[in-house]
Subunit: 139 residues, 2 copies
DNA sequence: TATTGTTATACTCTATAACTATA
DNA sequence: TATAGTTATAGAGTATAACAATA
């Protein structure tokens, strides 16, 4: 029997392990979770100022500097001057970054989908997806 | 509409954020996720050799040394000689560790349960719990 | 020769605080 | 005086490799 009180405990145990497995998978192809998220944001919304990224991801300005440094060293992103404010910098994804992002998303999402498909039926996955949608509300 | 193919993607977005929130909560009461897990294992299964811990948690021997160092500095765990093998050490939880573990589990599980209760009905939480049970199979 | 754990070294992800350049 | 970003510093969590003690 399952009671609602046991959910938090299971939640922690299961997802901590799953996310770690995905993260290992991602590192294997050269892009960590944090870097993938940032690259994806740049891919979808174009060149963005660092302070906007910090606010949107809930990270400190320093963490963004660090993340962008890493992506820049890898050649996946680049900083450009912001023409409207000489203090600010726009971070943009490069062609190499777009290619890598494509590869990383394919690899890790396929891995996750396979892991889920191994453990859940199609109906259960649909149910999970709808629960996730409800969990995703920021509150 | 929700298709099984979208599940992996949502899974990542939702749980990454949730686990980070829980981890922040846990740091606030002085025990990180990794330390809590280790302390809990020591509480439940008694003094354990470091190589066993490394194997069970899927960590390198060094990571265990590091984690135990941290818990020892906090007075939450201690190393004892293994009477059967002078190379080995048994890691044991202390009284202070047991008290802290109790507090940490209460704080972070209550936080998680509240987060879930804010977003899901009781029936949905029961459904989630049963999905988590299926996801928890190691494969 | 193999195993147990530590030390040395390093990388990622996160933080706060002090600082520089610009607004 | 306030904002954008970097540098300095720090701590957790992870890794590999080299090493000492012991088996």
């Amino acid at each position: 029997m399952v009671t609602p009180e046991q959910v938090g405990e299971r939640y922690l145990a299961v997802h901590h392990r799953m996310l770690r497995a995905v993260n290992d998978e991602m590192l294997g192809c050269g892009l960590s979770m944090a870097r993938t998220k940032l690259l994806r944001r740049l891919h979808e919304q174009g060149p963005t100022r660092q302070n906007v990224l910090a606010a949107d991801f809930g990270l400190s300005p320093h963490s963004i500097t660090d993340l962008v440094d890493g992506l820049e060293r890898m050649g996946m992103a680049e900083r450009r001057p912001d023409p409207t404010d000489r203090r600010a910098k726009l971070v943009a994804i490069t062609d190499a970054g777009n290619a890598k992002l494509d590869e990383a998303l394919t690899v890790h999402l396929e891995y996750l989908d396979e892991s889920l498909a191994k453990r859940l039926t199609e109906n259960e996955r649909v149910t999970l997806a709808s629960l996730l949608t409800k969990l995703n509300v920021a509150r």
